[in-house]
């Protein structure tokens, strides 16, 4: 029963994607909405990213220092380990899990409200492919802006580690800076950026699907928002494992 329902839902999601991904009706209107989505979904999220990243970077540095108290390990390992955690996992996966709460619920509730107030029906009646018109700019916008947010997150997290070193002396600053530079693997940055592209697609399409298929009233819109965030998080984790296995091993 659950399997049938799951497969049914997956089929509906694929059908939804099929109607969503196509050539926009009017490019001018598409670009207007696309830039608007970049601002709304991406630029608006920067304050949240800055706050979260600085604190996580600081926490990583403190916790790694606490756990790496073996005198055999050089002290710059703290900076190095902080960098690896941030590049490999935090800047892409954990950040996207955090953002899916904000962006996912925003997309699902916006489209869900449009559905229950018949605004989507109005678009359909006009002969507009409503899924394409409403959702494609969100997908394109998030795919464009999320890698930028990931890069911002990388820098601010490392800055968070620097800040905690400067303020508390947990590791001296020169050692920390040496640590974050040493044995740097550029591929890890690309790995994080590629993951962010997948996560952007998953987050935007799953949230939009839950919003677009809402039936009922405001209670259902709330449920759809919650389901969108939960399902986005699950799929981000699943794809995190898959991509890590495929790209790092």
């Amino acid at each position: 029963m659950i399997l049938t329902k799951g497969l049914n839902g997956f089929g509906e999601y694929l059908k939804f994607l099929w109607t969503t991904i196509g050539v926009p009706e009017k490019w001018r209107e598409f670009f207007k909405r696309y830039t608007n989505e970049i601002y709304k979904l991406g630029i608006d999220s920067i304050p949240l990213i800055l706050i979260v990243s600085v604190f996580i970077g600081a926490l990583c540095t403190i916790l790694i220092k606490l756990n790496l108290n073996n005198p055999m390990l050089p002290r710059y390992t703290v900076g190095m380990a902080t960098r690896e955690i941030i590049l490999l996992e935090f800047s892409s996966s954990i950040l996207c899990l955090i953002l899916s709460g904000k962006i996912g619920s925003n997309i699902a509730s916006e489209i869900g409200t449009m559905r229950v107030t018949e605004q989507i029906d109005a678009l359909d009646i006009m002969g507009i492919n409503s899924a394409n018109f409403l959702v494609l700019p969100k997908i394109a916008g998030l795919i464009t802006i999320l890698p930028v947010l990931v890069v911002i997150c990388m820098f601010t997290s490392l800055f968070g580690g620097y800040l905690v070193c400067a303020l508390t002396g947990v590791v001296d600053i020169d050692t920390y800076i040496y640590g974050i530079q040493t044995q740097f693997i550029e591929y890890y940055v690309w790995f994080a950026l590629v993951k962010s592209l997948f996560f952007a697609f998953l987050m935007s399409t799953i949230s939009a699907y839950f919003g677009y298929t809402v039936k009922g009233g405001s209670v259902e819109v709330g449920k759809a928002s919650t389901n969108a965030v939960v399902m986005s998080n699950i799929m981000i984790l699943v794809f995190d494992v898959l991509l890590t296995k495929l790209m790092l091993q």
Binding site: T117, A122, D124, M126
Partner: protein, 266 residues
């Protein structure tokens, strides 16, 4: 003219199917206000949603001047929809757009007009529905009646051949309802539009019902004009239309003194 032939529609209800429309036949005429009336749950909204193509019927034909919407492919349907305007029960104005933005929207998407021409056309439609001065207001800043008028302006922006209205008077006070009825009636006659109004507002029925389709439990219960409705012996129709003492008294009076009525507000 829109013609509906033997329209049947059912929906999945748990493991079984629940039939809502049982072979409806109806005609909706050009340049007339065609009203679909019936009790809540009788299938009015399902009928109108089938006609506009939001639902696909199980069986039957829906002919727009001879063109059957049920067998159209996506491209044909898209072309037809450019000839359709619709006024939704909750107005369905785009929250993020102003009144001007809402009215401009179909023009931006489908017309080949320049921006100046679009603005001129949108302003004309806004003026036509007496919303001059509210161009830059957002839907949340408008009253229910103003929202309906803005939605009518958007619906007529592209000069539609067919105008559909789902419960245009719901949630409005009687006076505002009359204003909306009058506006729909005038627009229908001015532009020769085939207007189909889904309503259970008896004032509208008695005021602008030039062609009335009574839907009863998914069947066509009765078809006629507002002038013919008074002398009917159809129990289902009479129970629905004359559900209130006021309308029963009006009926008695008119059966004795005859019927003479103008459009509300005229």
């Amino acid at each position: 003219m829109i013609e509906v032939k033997n329209l049947k529609k059912s929906f999945k209800d748990g493991d079984s199917m629940r039939q809502v429309l049982f072979g409806i036949d109806a005609k909706f005429y050009d340049g007339k206000t065609n009203l679909i009336i019936g009790q809540s749950g009788s299938g009015k909204t399902v009928l109108i949603k089938n006609i506009v193509g939001l639902f696909k019927p199980d069986e039957g034909q829906i002919l727009y001047d001879g063109r059957d919407i049920t067998v159209m492919d996506g491209k044909q349907l898209k072309e037809l929809r450019k000839e359709i305007g619709m006024l939704f029960q909750g107005s369905a104005l785009f929250d993020s757009e102003t009144v001007m933005g809402n009215v401009m929207f179909p023009l931006k998407m489908f017309s080949t007009m320049t921006v100046e021409e679009q603005l001129e056309r949108a302003q004309f439609c806004i003026d036509r529905v007496n919303l001059t001065g509210s161009e830059n207001k957002f839907p949340s800043e408008l009253s229910g009646g103003m929202q309906k008028r803005a939605a009518i302006a958007r619906a007529i922006a592209l000069n539609p051949k067919y105008l559909f209205c789902d419960e245009p008077n719901s949630g409005l006070d009687p006076k505002t309802s009359i204003v909306i009825d009058e506006l729909l009636y005038d627009i229908t006659h001015e532009y020769g539009i085939t207007t189909i109004i889904n309503t259970h507002d008896m004032n509208s029925v008695m005021g602008i019902g030039e062609n009335i389709i009574f839907v009863n439990k998914g069947h066509l219960g009765w078809n006629g004009t507002k002038d013919e409705i008074y002398g009917q012996e159809n129990d289902d129709l009479n129970n629905f239309v004359y559900a209130t003492d006021l309308f029963r008294d009006v009926r008695k009076y008119r059966l004795v003194h005859g019927y003479q009525r103008t459009i509300p507000g005229k």
